[in-house]
């Protein structure tokens, strides 16, 4: 735990938090497919959903690597994906 990303908790190569984070990553595939087709509002919904899934993945990874400071990353993404979604919604409503 001195350099790099550190080791997963318990020293084992995998733990339940890492498994859950990997399983959640699969959820990004349908979100990406929604982002690739349809009109802009549909794509925005896919992007918002992907932001939520990413936040949960960061939450699980922070716990998997046992670093309290990594939880700030999930918090920042939750707030910024909200701000980004609001900006996109406003622009789609008025100008684009």
């Amino acid at each position: 735990m001195t350099e790099g990303f550190g080791e997963p908790r318990g020293g084992a190569p995998m733990n339940e938090w890492l498994v859950a984070a990997l399983a959640l990553l699969v959820g990004l595939v349908p979100c990406g497919m929604v982002c690739l087709r349809g009109d802009p509002v549909n794509r925005l919904v896919g992007l918002e959903m992907a932001g939520t899934v990413d936040t949960l993945v960061l939450l699980l990874l922070a716990q998997a690597y046992d670093r309290a400071i990594y939880f700030d990353l999930a918090l920042a993404l939750a707030l910024l994906s909200f701000a980004g979604g609001m900006v996109f919604a406003r622009f789609l409503e008025r100008w684009i």
Partner: protein, 110 residues
Amino acid sequence: MSPRGILVGALLVVGVGVTLASCVGVLVMRDAYDRLHYSAPATTIAPLAIAAAIVLEESFSAAGIKALLVALVLLVTNPVLTHATARAARVRALGEWAVQEGEQVKGDSP
């Protein structure tokens, strides 16, 4: 495996399962209004289940409190985002609307 470990695993399964089901729901629905419904379980049940699992494991340390904070932020911000997105979809489809001075508000048929 301790009872606490089993409970943590069950909460993680609930959180991950609900999120994956919501992602599939977003994919298979027809229009943006239908899709928006599926962001609700992924931002209420899933973060609370995962935060509860982390609190069970860590108790109320810095990690547990921050996990609860993330769940709270998702819980509060997502309804606002859903409303803004649905409003944008409606304005794009039907044009800007506002109740004028002295106007009668009739039924909302397109």
